[in-house]
């Protein structure tokens, strides 16, 4: 096999993994945005905290039993993320929303929440002697099959892809088939009318945050399963997550596809640019960001929309 093809394949496999993570992470962000209209910058931190909580599970569970550890990791991560997400809404976003704050104020508030969470974790890691400035989930992934030893599919791929697809389907079904999901959409679409029809808007909001937080931290767990994690890991990925969410037009299937596409494009295009033009892979992130800015400028309603969301209304 020629070197180019080989390299492209390796980049593609890697992109598949990274892209699934983007998609997985963007699902929770989308959930929050669709129900509460908050562009939540603190979402990155729910991911990071999830990863750290998963690692914390290994202090409790005997690391020899890897299956039990995986389960404990997931449980620790999701419960931590759900609690933190809910707390950030109850303490910050809900009071602001009640007062009728504009979107931009909510955005700034979420940046504040993000700073507090991120740097508290960094501070705590530093306080404990810097040992936790980088952590890794003790159970590592295994190669499932490999082409020539470099381009390989691993259990991390399987976990990321399956969970992303699964959660996207679950969320889509939740929103289209269930009473709760429809109540969530109704709340977002017309809160006053939702209240009149007897929907408990506050409860719906709480459930949304719990779910989104759990999703974020599950993604964080998945991240820590294949990569070392530091307190800034979530934050560094945040703009990519936003890219995926915006490209997908904040629809669950759209976000899934955009995430995959971003991850694959970033890696494959990056590889080709390196191979033929000598541009280093350190420019890869630029691809995602330029895509984001382009999409926002040209089609702010998203590139890949898998549902019609906002319709032309009378002005």
């Amino acid at each position: 096999m020629s070197a180019v093809l080989y390299g492209v394949l390796a980049a593609f496999f890697n992109g598949l993994l990274v892209g699934s993570l983007y998609g997985l992470m963007a699902l929770g962000l989308t959930l929050i945005y669709r129900v509460t209209k908050i562009p939540n910058f603190a979402f990155a931190e729910y991911i990071t905290y999830g990863a750290y909580a998963a690692v914390a599970a290994s202090f409790v569970i005997d690391p020899v039993n890897s299956a039990a550890l995986l389960v404990a990791g997931i449980l620790f991560a999701t419960s931590a993320g759900a609690v933190i997400a809910l707390a950030s809404d109850e303490l910050v976003f809900k009071p602001l929303w009640r007062r009728g704050s504009e979107v931009l104020q909510l955005l700034v508030a979420s940046i504040g929440v993000g700073l507090v969470l991120r740097y508290s974790l960094l501070g705590a890691a530093a306080l404990t002697g810097g040992k936790y400035l980088e952590v890794r989930f003790p159970v590592t992934y295994q190669t499932v099959f490999s082409v020539g030893g470099l381009a390989s599919i691993t259990t991390a791929h399987l976990l990321a892809i399956t969970s992303m697809v699964l959660f996207a389907i679950v969320l889509h079904l939740l929103f289209t088939r269930t009473r709760l999901g429809k109540a969530m959409r109704a709340t977002a679409s017309n809160p006053t009318l939702a209240q009149i029809t007897g929907i408990n808007v506050i409860l719906v909001r709480r459930i949304t945050w719990l779910m989104a937080g759990a999703l974020a931290s599950f993604a964080g767990f998945t991240y820590s399963y294949y990569n070392p994690v530091n307190p800034e890991s979530g934050w560094i990925t945040l703009l990519w997550i936003f890219s995926a969410a915006i490209m997908g037009g904040f629809t669950f299937y759209g976000v899934l596809l955009s995430g995959l596409l971003l991850g694959i494009a970033e890696n494959v295009v990056g590889f080709l640019a390196n191979y033929y033009l000598g541009i280093g892979s350190e420019y890869n992130p630029v691809i995602a960001l330029v895509t984001l800015v382009t999409v926002l400028m040209v089609r702010p309603e998203g590139l890949i929309r898998m549902e019609s969301l906002v319709v032309a209304r009378r002005v």
Partner: protein
């Protein structure tokens, strides 16, 4: 002890001046004009890169020819090489250039930094006219990251991840104490910028900015072209941001793209929200507090003040600063959304006259 404290105080004054200029500029765009320029750090960076590269390039060109040297540099600017560092040090110590020359170069580079910043602002007004609110904020933030990532990885203009360093200090060439001189010049610049901004905003233009911010359709009906006013605000604001960037480089003698992460924008946002949006004095107050956090919450600063921290706390301290900044943003939004110094009517003859008239009653 006294020396150490005064050293920190000087450092604080410089940082205060730089942050105050950034805050005044962000306040003009966001507070008065309602444009969420979350890419503030991009324009500060543009100023810094421009100033650093231009000053280094000219200085090095003159320096090498006078020293009879020749620098061969492949794939990177000559000023990134080790020889360049030697030339720079010779300029400071060996009197290769006259104070007048180096002052001229510095001023030229400052003007260029302002100009490039302003041009960047004009470019940024393209999305600012088309997008609103959160999407605009994310776009500008992402634009900032794109430029930072490229600059950080490319040898042009500021030597990639090594950064451009050792730019000769004009004050040292003149035989002055560098930090104190920078502090004096920064404060003088800040004073000029403050007068500029407060005159520009306390004017019919300030009313135009607020009109577009408060209700765009009404502003259009009464003859204001929002696209033009947004462009003006971003051009002026980004020019000022470029100036702040240049000041930071003059102070440190280095430029490295790593220091222009979004966090810097967030510090500025925190300063403006804390001090009071659409209030220039508020921006100063906010900058004073934020710069204070950044300077004094440091192990070395605290040690100089006689406070010794356990080693572990010392390591956590740089992070805790940002926790406090984040907390500040949240608390201000929750409990005093208008900031410490709330928005006031613009100081124009009209308002002064009305105050006198209504006050007399």
């Amino acid at each position: 002890m006294v020396e150490a404290v005064s050293g920190i105080l000087v450092q604080y004054l410089i940082l205060f001046a730089a942050y105050a200029i950034m805050s005044l500029s962000f306040n003009m765009e966001y507070g008065f004009g309602g444009i969420p320029n979350f890419g503030k750090v991009l324009f500060v960076g543009l100023g810094a890169y421009t100033f650093g590269a231009l000053a280094a390039w000219i200085t090095l060109g003159i320096g090498t020819s006078r020293l009879g040297l020749e620098i061969v540099a492949e794939d990177e600017p000559a000023y990134c090489t080790g020889t360049a560092k030697y030339v720079f040090s010779q300029i400071v110590e060996g009197g290769v250039m006259t104070p007048l020359e180096i002052t001229g170069i510095t001023l030229l580079a400052v003007v260029a930094a302002i100009a490039v910043g302003a041009v960047g602002g004009v470019v940024a007004s393209y999305p600012a006219v088309r997008l609103r609110g959160d999407f605009l904020a994310i776009t500008l933030l992402a634009m900032g990251e794109i430029v930072r990532l490229i600059v950080y990885n490319s040898p042009w203009p500021v030597c990639a991840f090594d950064g451009l360093s050792g730019i000769p200090s004009p004050f040292s060439v003149m035989g002055l104490e560098h930090n104190i001189s920078v502090a004096v010049v920064s404060l003088a610049t800040l004073a000029a910028v403050y007068i500029f901004v407060s005159r520009a905003t306390n004017s019919p233009w300030g009313r135009a900015l607020k009109a577009v911010r408060d209700n765009e359709i009404a502003a259009m009906v009464y003859g204001y072209n929002p696209a033009r006013i947004r462009l003006q605000a971003l051009a002026v604001g980004s020019g000022l941001a470029g100036l702040a960037g240049a000041l930071l480089v003059i102070y440190s003698g280095n430029v490295n793209a790593i220091s222009f992460k979004p966090d810097k924008t967030f510090e500025v946002i925190a300063a403006v929200m804390l001090g009071g949006s659409a209030n220039n004095l508020g921006a100063l107050l906010g900058a004073a507090i934020v710069a204070g956090l950044l300077v004094f919450l440091n192990v070395s600063s605290l040690r100089a003040l006689g406070i010794d921290l356990p080693a572990s706390v010392g390591q956590a301290l740089p992070y805790m600063k940002f926790t406090i900044i984040g907390l500040t943003i949240i608390l201000v939004l929750l409990y005093r959304p208008q900031g410490v110094l709330p928005e006031k009517p613009l100081k124009t003859p009209l308002i002064e006259w009305l105050k006198r008239k209504l006050g007399r009653k």
